[in-house]
Symmetry: C2
Subunit: 265 residues, 2 copies
């Protein structure tokens, strides 16, 4: 049976609220996800929150009922609360119907099966949580095997990244590692490393992609370091007809990933 919590000072409410901060996520190994759609996506992917908050009025919604059952069946706790507390947890005036506290997860690099997918996304020093979430959403759509984050990237479990992923955080494996570990792993098996670079001569539509292709996107402001570009098997560019010299990083990744997908189909 869900219990009722209406005080913002409640320790579980405070714990959930604290997970909006990176430091608290790191300490606890937990993160916050919001919204019936995203939490249902999580449940269907086998991820059940430890704590589930829902507003009383939505407790009879069939999808909320299934979430409550799943949480209680996994020895988690379902907590009925007020829209006001949900808004405080969410940081939005108009919060989702549910919020969940999940344990962080994610395979190690060595656990990835590179043969499981033709496309893999790789991003280095990605700084914007919206870009990270959007890349996961695109990764889900193109059937990517995962997103590999190189170096100091934004936290994939931040509230903004989880939100922008629209649930793809729960379906697309995310690995965080350093460049040397990534290159070492990559070269121990098949895999074409494709870098997106403003300096490349090869047009992304004229290039031919192998499977699996690892699509590397550099930092939003600086692109990738020269030695990363040198390590690529193929460097491609996307035409820029206007005054700007680059696309949004998540957009560039998607344009390239859909070209690879079209060549594989």
């Amino acid at each position: 049976m869900p219990r009722l919590v209406t005080a913002y000072s409640n320790p579980l409410v405070r714990h959930a609220r604290d997970l909006r901060e990176k430091r608290r996520r790191r300490e606890s190994g937990q993160f916050l996800a919001e919204g019936l759609r995203i939490l249902t996506e999580a449940r269907e992917s086998g991820r059940v929150p430890r704590l589930l908050f829902f507003a009383g009025a939505t407790g009879a919604h069939p999808l909320v009922v299934r979430l409550i059952d799943a949480v209680e069946g996994a020895d988690g706790e379902a907590i009925e609360t007020t829209p006001d507390i949900l808004a405080k947890l969410s940081g939005k005036d108009n919060p989702g119907a549910v919020m969940g506290v999940f344990d962080e997860f994610g395979p190690a690099l060595d656990e990835l099966d590179r043969g499981a997918a033709d496309i893999w996304l790789v991003a280095e020093r990605l700084r914007d949580p919206g870009n990270l979430g959007t890349m996961l959403r695109t990764g889900d759509a193109v059937g990517a095997g995962g997103l590999i984050l190189i170096g100091e990237c934004v936290d994939p479990f931040s509230v903004e990244a989880v939100r922008a992923s629209m649930g793809a955080l729960f379906t697309v494996p995310v690995v965080r590692c350093e460049w040397d570990a990534f290159i070492g792993w990559l070269r121990r098996g098949p895999g074409q490393l494709v870098g997106l670079s403003l300096d490349a001569r090869q047009d992304y539509r004229a290039a031919r992609y192998d499977a699996p292709a690892f699509l590397l996107t550099g930092n939003e402001a600086q692109g990738m370091p020269d030695d990363y570009a040198d390590a690529c098997d193929l460097l491609v560019k996307i035409p820029m007809l206007g005054r700007a010299d680059s696309l949004n990083a998540a957009v560039a990744t998607a344009v390239m990933a859909y070209e690879v997908l079209a060549q594989r189909r």
Copy 2:
């Protein structure tokens, strides 16, 4: 000569700060843009701010000097201020070197020359300022004639949209209008209306695009209304291999726009 303002209570500082709010932008017809790169893009596109704020330490930077000259040459005002005030204007801890207050601009629908470009972007009820700015940035890259915003869209002059556009707000014309006015204008001349729809049967790579093509993207959560889809000359879909049923709106627009561009090249 720039004058020095160090008080947050200064009326010009307060005016600039107020432009972070939509209501104040509507009242004054002005907006705020931040960063040396974006303001230089604006200057090179012939848009000079009415008010320019810069931190004293950056006043000798050649691009800041050129901005100051341009502003003063256009009877605007250049104001030297403190990093602290710039941070307050920006809303970021780490603000850009300059902030500008610009008059809003934008052609009317009837002023667009549809023959000037092969690709036009059209978005209806776009709600996310980051998506709007990213679409402008993509529009610049594909040589789009402009972005036409249908119905109740987020403000293209919001701080977040201007920032996400990376300066493309100053190079890609933006028109705001209602659907009936848009369709009336469109049908008075050549133009293929291409709708992106989850229900379409035609794959976006198999479709053939005319020039000018008007690429219509619907609301982030709901897609486009049925009667808008019915009005399209062509409905296309982008393959979705995963669990999610849609891409980010700015990503979907970019994937489609780059396909049209590839067919035209």
